[in-house]
Every structure is written in structure tokens, then in C-alpha cells.
Symmetry: C2
Subunit: 395 residues, 2 copies
């Protein structure tokens, strides 16, 4: 029989809420984390004792934080892939690895890969000039290939004038390897997300496909599973996400953000919008709504352990983000608890240890149950209450 | 509308697995913990960044760790009540407070209170001499009033000779306020546990009554809810636990350990065995089996926030402890994962970051589902596998 081996230490790069929420299953699994945080006291640094403050662009810093760790994973997708190759040469394996991660870092590389795989996606092209944009056709969406997030670096272009700012932004960043991507403006019914976990062994687990509501490029609500989704389309989306994870060699969580497009005959299909290779906002519902959360399966995958079941635990689970409201002076985080918890003893709250600022994600709530309308009402009410903005819902 | 207030900091005294498991809901609630650990690197010290190593018997140390905290709570029940009164004078409230806590520290004080409340309990007396023990009647159970745990400080006495050791042990500790308690040896059907959370507001929540299997005074298994328990007895046990919590002014989690005694006519009743005032081994199933875990409700109670629902999320939840086996050289903690997780994708594992030693609690597993036999088989198999001791269950 084997003797006890100490659990391997996992380095986590980036101190945001995704790293913070990895800490909870790490406690249960008995797996120590070592954090590289951007600054003292950031979200994950509040809850992971073994930490270093430093810059993830610096290879020496990455070597220091991963010393004694067998694997490294991420709160975000921005670590330079050449540094991950250097760490691999040192014997520290990144999950996801650099060959996979580049598809989450560079949207043009991602589009090229989707074309190669024959994955359904919007028509796209790399553009450099106003003439290129006109030739592509308006309206369209322009995106910088690297560095955009939460709606930043994305422009909807309806007139030639609308293209001036993105063309200039991309030109100014060209020497940093940034290209400008034009995409067909899809007239979608809604956005969906297909989340999978994949281990280095090749084992993979697909969560139910969810519907997501994005406002100004920021995720606001998730409904799991997506209501009224054709079962064939749902299965197809899971298969697509599993195939992308396998073909790109993703390890850890992969979120495939999708557009659901409905044809004139009523049939619907999905188109790949974005890829994310880390626990994802559209998977936060799994903390309370699935047998195994995306955060636990991300850690299990990083350690090449068997994955946990992605099955839902309730008929419906709704996640609503808590964002800072428009008035920076007003907020209800901790002081929102007495009402929110008394009104709904089944409410699940997840705060990130961040100050409220307008538009900033500072937490989310999960509500599960048999009645979707009831779940939506409860989750929306609580999130609005925490941000101090009940709008017309006052009671 | 109120402006944002920072979340109050909670001091936690004691660095064992109970404090460790408070860290998970503290992350979700956005509530910072400050830990007083017995030594560097103990179970909770691995997962709570804000920590101090020191001796909880020392008031100055307690003052240092609670400085800037509004409340203090506990991993164990051993902090001297006079220190808690001193902290209260400083403005730091203990949950539970000293007036309640003494009932979990001193079994004679507890028995006196149960008599006062008219709570059903075994016949008992304080004894000092062999003659007292004979007068009480044999067989009986002798217990030191203070400092026993997990079966230590408890003796089953069947002959006058059996009383020699406990009488000597109590006499030696008399100057530390230790008395010797004699209790009727109850011929019980099984042990039950009624767990409640109670907030300073007076709000309380009762978890389903569970059946517990104790071996040599150590909790081995819990089944939630207790199978085949008369509904009237179950409700009565919950009401009893709520009444004890209210009458003693408990804040936080109270576990009332009970004997179920069956009369000749088949009717059963419960007798109070022990009280614990902290998250309790018989409540670990709530982490995966209830809407709100005992650890989260303990923190909510300490902050006087509304309590979360104690409802079960599954028909059955089984908890089995992982204990070190007899051979100190053999163990399967981290290296037990590949088999245990692959065999059961729904298994929930909680390890405490402790080395395996014979008889030591190093973790537990939770399994939930509709079929109790299936849950028991899965949980027992996994716990045996982790301790490297499948016995006759090999497959």
C-alpha cells in the first residue's frame, strides 16, 4: 500500500475573485495554494495565506512563486505564454498550458482555430484599414485581438465613422502584437455558455448549458440550465465545447460563450463568440447548484485527479452578479445582509472582499429551486438590494 | 440608504479543523477571520491568513488577537470564562458567551442545568469516594467534569475496582476544579444528535435530528436524518435543543448529543448525553447536505445576522470520518484521491491538512442521495480507502 504523500502545492497567478473562490475547494481537498497577487489585500490575498505580491509579467517573479509547486494555474489569461514555456522547462506545468492558453489570449488565433475545427462561428476577418472594414461589410463588430475584457476593446460599427476609434486603437497597439478583428454582427436570440472541465488525462465533464444575460459586455445573470433550449442544440453545444477542449488541449475549465441564432423556420443553432480558460462568471452557479463546483473541478483538473460530477443539484439555479451602482457613495454590501438574509433564508451570497465602485463586480448571489420565476425574483431582488438600487422593485 | 460599512472581523480561538471549515463560508460571506492558533501550520492556520500563534490561556494573547474584532468565537470550548468576561469588558463579545459556555466546559454544571430545565437525562450524581460510587449503583459511567473529550476522561464502571482509576484521576485534578460525575449506564438503542443554531437576536434554526455511530467515544458515522426515528421523538428532540439553547443563552451552534432509549412497549425517548457549543462532528454532513452549513450559520449567529435555512438538500446524507489506521506507516490521504474520486464522482471529501496518526481524525467524506444503503456503502468505502484499511470490503 502506498504511504502518505503530501498534497502537491498549486501556484495561482492573479488575486481576483476567481482565485478567491478556488480557495474554498482547496480547503476541502486539503490542497495548499500559493498565490501571486497584484497588490496587498486584493480579493484572493484576503483568504490565501501563502502569498507573494508581484508582477506576473516578470519571469523571475513567476519562478519564485512556483518554486516548490508542481503546477500553476490562473485567475486570468494574461500570463505571457513564453514564461509558461520557461516554467515548463523548470518542471512546473501550467494548466491550461501555453498552446491552449493562446486561444484565450488572442481572438484572431481563436478564430483561426475555430475555422480549422469547423466550429460554427460568425463570419470574421482581420482588418487594418477603413477600406478593409467597408469591404468586410457594415454593420459589424470590431475587436482588438488581445487585452480586451468585459466589453472593453469591443466596438459595434454601423457607419464608416464608427470604425475610426477602433482602427486607431489597434494601430497604436500593433507593435504589441494587437490586431483588429472584424466579426459579423449576429442577430442572436440570446447568449449561452457551455462550460467543461478537462483533465490532462483526457477525462472531461460538461456542465449543463446555461443562458446568460450580458449588459454592456458584462455578465449580469445566468440561468442554469438555459430555459426552453432545444435538447439537441444543448447536447450539440456540450459536444462542441468538449471537442474544442480536446482539440486545443485545454486543461482546467473552458467556457465557450455562444450566440444562439434562430433561423426563419424556428430552428436554432449556436455560434462560438468567445473562449475563456479559467473558472468563468457563467459557471458561478455551480458553487451552489452543481454536485461539483467549477472551482473544485478546475483544481482537480490541474492536479490530474478524476473530475467530480457536473450534474445540477436543483431543477433551476439562477446567478445574479452584484455590481456597484451609479452612485459611488451608496452601497449595501455587509450592511445589506440583515434584509437580504432575513427575506430569503435559502439565498446563497458570495462577496469578493472588494469595495463598491460603479459597474464593478463585487459579488454574486445564487438561488436554486423548482420555480424559475421565483428564483429569478429572489436573486434579482437580493443583488439589487446589495448594490443599493432596487429601482422599481421597492417593497 | 446606508453607505457601505466594512464587514466586522471575527476572532476565532483554536486552529483545528472546525476553525478551518469556518474559513470556507467566511470567504463567501466576505467576512474576515483572525485566528489564534496553538502552533504554526496547524489545520486552520493553513487557510486563514490573518493569524497569531499563542496560548488561549493567556489573557494578554486573547486581547491581542481580538484587537479590532467585534466578536470572538471558538474552535473548542476550553477558553477560561473569566477571560471572556474580561474581553466583554473591552467590548469584544464572545459567541457563545461565558454564561452559556460553562455548560459545555463543565459536565456537572451541565447536569445541574438539565435538572433545572427538567430536560430528560440519565440519573446522575457527583461522587468523591468509592463508597459514593457504590451508593450510586453499578454499573455506571464515571466522567471527569472538565477536560475530557473524544472518550477521554470517561470510564464504564462495572465493578468497584473499575472505579479506582477515575477516582484517582479526579482527586489529582481536584485543585483545578475537576469533579467526578457518576451517570446511569443507559441501555440505548443508538445515539442521536440535535443541532441548532441560535443568534443573539433569539432567532434559532434546528437541523434535522441525525443518528451517530460512536466507537470508543469517537464519532465515526452520521446519518441525516436519523432513519426510522419516530416523528414525534424527532420533533421533541429539536424542541428540546431549541429550549436548551434559549434557556442557556447559547449563541452559535449548539449540539445536543442524545441517547435514544426504547421502552419495553417499543416507544422511545431521548436523554441528554452531552452538550457542545461550536460546530460539531455530527453536523459536518450539513456542508454538502443542507441549504446552509453549520459553519456558515455559526458565523452568521456570531454576527447576529439572520440564519440560513437548515433544510436538507437530499433525502439522505451520510458522513463518515477518516481516521488514521492502526499502522502509523500506512495511509492514503492525497494518494487516496485517484481511486476514491474515480469510483464515485459524487463523493464530497473534506481533509483537514493533518498527518495520519492512529485514531486521529484527519478528514471526513459526505455522500448524499435517495438510497441510504448506497450512500452508506459509498461513504464507508471511501473513508476506509483513505485510511488504507478496506478490511473485508476489498474489491
Amino acid at each position: 500500500m502506498p504511504t502518505t504523500e503530501p498534497a502537491p502545492r498549486i501556484a495561482v497567478i492573479g488575486g481576483g475573485q476567481l482565485a478567491r473562490m478556488m480557495a474554498q475547494p482547496a480547503v476541502a481537498l486539503g490542497v495548499p495554494l500559493r498565490l501571486l497577487a497584484e497588490a496587498e489585500g486584493v480579493s484572493a490575498a484576503q483568504v490565501i495565506p501563502d502569498q507573494l505580491v508581484g508582477d506576473y509579467h516578470d519571469l523571475a517573479t513567476l519562478r519564485t512563486v512556483t518554486d516548490g509547486c508542481s503546477v500553476v494555474t490562473f485567475d486570468h489569461e494574461h500570463v505571457p505564454t513564453e514564461h509558461l514555456r520557461a516554467l515548463a522547462a523548470d518542471g512546473v506545468t501550467a494548466h491550461p498550458g501555453p498552446e491552449a492558453l493562446v486561444h484565450a489570449q488572442d481572438k484572431v488565433v481563436m478564430r483561426e482555430a475555430m475555422s480549422r475545427l469547423g466550429a460554427p462561428q460568425p463570419r470574421w476577418a482581420v482588418v487594418e484599414t477603413a477600406a478593409d472594414v467597408e469591404a468586410f461589410g457594415l454593420p459589424c463588430v470590431l475587436k482588438v485581438s488581445r487585452g480586451g475584457y468585459d466589453g472593453k476593446g469591443v466596438w459595434v460599427v454601423r457607419t464608416p465613422d464608427d470604425a475610426t476609434e477602433p482602427l486607431a486603437a489597434a494601430a497604436a497597439a500593433r507593435d504589441r502584437g494587437v490586431r483588429l478583428l472584424a466579426e459579423e454582427l449576429v442577430d442572436f436570440r440570446r447568449e449561452l455558455s457551455a462550460l467543461v472541465a478537462r483533465a490532462p488525462s483526457g477525462q472531461a465533464a460538461a456542465y449543463p448549458v446555461v443562458a446568460t444575460l450580458q449588459v454592456d459586455g458584462v455578465c449580469r445573470e445566468v440561468i442554469a440550465p438555459a430555459p426552453d433550449l432545444d435538447p439537441g442544440v444543448a447536447t450539440g453545444a456540450q459536444e462542441l465545447a468538449l471537442r474544442i477542449a480536446g482539440e486545443l488541449g485545454v486543461t482546467g475549465i473552458l467556457a465557450v460563450e455562444l450566440f444562439e441564432e434562430v433561423a426563419a423556420d424556428g430552428t436554432s443553432r449556436v455560434l462560438v463568440n468567445e473562449l475563456a480558460m479559467r473558472p468563468h462568471n457563467t459557471g458561478h452557479w455551480t458553487q451552489d447548484g452543481a454536485v461539483t463546483s467549477q472551482f473544485e473541478n478546475h483544481l482537480r483538473a490541474a492536479l490530474d485527479l478524476p473530475l467530480g460530477s457536473p450534474e445540477p443539484r436543483a431543477r433551476w439555479t439562477v446567478m445574479v452578479n452584484i455590481l456597484g451602482g451609479d452612485d459611488p457613495e451608496v452601497g449595501r454590501l455587509y450592511d445589506g445582509y440583515p434584509h437580504a438574509l432575513a427575506r430569503d433564508p435559502r439565498l446563497r451570497v458570495h462577496l469578493y472582499g472588494k469595495d463598491l465602485r460603479p459597474g464593478r463586480k463585487v459579488g454574486h448571489v445564487n438561488v436554486y429551486g423548482d420555480d424559475l420565476d421565483d428564483c429569478l425574483e429572489r436573486a434579482r431582488h437580493a443583488a439589487a438590494w446589495f448594490r443599493g438600487d432596487l429601482g422599481d422593485e421597492s417593497e
